[in-house]
Point group: C2
Chain length 316, copies 2
């Protein structure tokens, strides 16, 4: 008897011995207590506010460019627990499915995008994080062009909205005692949606404790306050944003996933600024990304000022 794992042309084989056969006959995975595995995805995008984009031409300042905001997609929970609270899109890993496949499936269900880069962020499995029982959350993040994707239509059971992200940081203590590098930072997260009649504001305060534990690469996150967010998702969102920013500082090319096929350099810069939460100087930015882009020969049209060249992603 031979078992062959076939996913993606995997050529890895395992030949069972007689001993294995006996062992496996007596092995019953059901005997052990096992957790449910959830894949939760922080789906990020950078785009303008709905109402601003509509009223831009009507208002006096037709020349101004619409502001781009860093956004995350959340789902209103229709059922207990945390009914009516907002949560990361996610779902349970089914048998025969890789966790990345679960995440990909959930992403497709919410956004109709069937292939997007998924990055593993962290694993959250604290006892008590989910009142339903032992549920481990494998958290991913993905970057998509939210302006180009249609959210699945809402229903009674189901509602998805983009929330703009504000994350502020406050140093609580900083102690570098003999190579122990401890310290605490408090992050305040504000997620806002103003598409509908009344604005929705979700908030969380999350404290990062460095050196207090040796898990998560020496960092521990603790929820201090939470309003409107389900489960421990406030903590997960803060953690994921920090990781995304770190990765973007390291290699900004992942942000091309946010862009349409053709874009101006100012649009690209606005995307970087929105994600990183700080402004950049145009001259420096252009030098930095020069090797990652290619000219299309086309120009942007219809702006109340000098038109910009349209670029596409280059071959590095």
């Amino acid at each position: 008897m031979t078992v062959t794992a076939e996913r993606g042309n995997e050529m890895y084989q395992y030949k069972f011995t007689r001993e294995d056969m006996e062992y496996l006959e007596n092995y019953h995975i059901e005997k052990y207590e096992r957790p449910a595995i959830a894949a939760d995805i922080a789906i990020f995008s950078v785009h303008g506010r709905k109402e601003e984009m509509n009223s831009m031409r009507d208002s006096g300042n037709f020349r101004k460019m619409p502001k781009k905001e860093f956004k995350i997609l959340l789902i209103r929970r229709a059922y207990s627990p945390f009914r009516n609270a907002w949560a990361l899109p996610g779902g349970f890993c089914k048998k025969g499915e890789d966790v990345y496949e679960t995440a990909q499936r959930e992403l497709a269900e919410e956004t109709s995008i069937h292939h997007a880069y998924l990055f593993l962020s962290d694993i959250f499995g604290d006892a008590g994080r989910d009142p339903r029982g032992w549920i481990i959350s494998n958290t991913f993040y993905s970057l998509i062009n939210g302006e180009a994707c249609r959210l699945r239509a809402g229903s009674d059971a189901w509602e998805a909205k983009w929330f703009s992200i504000s994350l502020s940081e406050q140093c609580i203590s900083e102690k570098d005692l003999s190579a122990q590098r401890t310290g605490e930072t408090e992050y305040r997260l504000l997620l806002e949606n103003t598409d509908g009649e009344e604005a929705i504001r979700l908030t969380a305060a999350v404290r990062e404790r460095r050196g207090s534990s040796y898990a998560h690469g020496g960092k521990d996150y603790v929820i201090m306050e939470n309003s409107g967010l389900a489960f421990d998702h406030g903590k997960i969102i803060v953690n994921t944003i920090l990781q995304l920013r770190k990765n973007v500082e390291m290699d900004g090319r992942i942000l091309f996933e946010l862009m349409p096929e053709k874009f101006t350099l100012t649009e690209l810069q606005k995307a970087f600024e929105a994600v990183l939460g700080r402004t950049l100087l145009a001259a420096n930015f252009r030098r930095k990304i020069a090797g990652w882009i290619a000219e299309t020969g086309e120009m942007a049209e219809g702006a109340g000022h000098r038109p910009a060249k349209l670029f596409k992603r280059g071959d590095d």
Copy 2:
């Protein structure tokens, strides 16, 4: 009824409504098929070969410094499946335990080290990766000073050994078709232990396919050949080494975990070289790490040449 998650002073509370209570009474997690969760750890160290360290003084070249090698700790499996094959230390996540805690526990069991930084590497949950059933591996890596730790004594059921790591890389194809950035690289892994009577050599060939899938940040790993390694651990080890190297290039300070409290700068440099798999120029290396270290005032002794200053980790 209120549930409070208490891990690490967590202040996050959830108040159950009547609706929640009803829902939870009818919710039975057991109804759903669930996987077993394993934490597997790549425990890395940098140190010399056993026999070389013993024979150094006896042989003619007492002046030469012992070579430092990049090593990984593996366990010989005593039971089916993969009996006698070598595997990453690991074990199943127990109820009430966070996966990081599982990893920490396994690390302590093998090395008697009770607190070490753990970094999440990736999640492997392909169907068929474990013949026992649906078992998802959460993979971590840790850096320890293997020279200072005593491995748990071997027994019939159990044997742990350090294997020196050689990882070579061969570009198979490189296609940058219109921003699609595909390509394949084949990695050849050789793990060697020469402590005992006869040398143990484990090998694997793993192919990295970029752009073929959108999971794992756009990279897919496929085992092409495997000799002596259990499960898909060859793939996991290659993936983890690549991640570790990337992280070290980004911020080398994690490598202080490999060092004893006091060390010479050449020792530190050898550790960097062993992990990165390339040599560094001393002058540049010293400038780079200058801000991370502090003098102890002491000097190394007993070498057949100019003695070096002993340093310790600084306060950044």
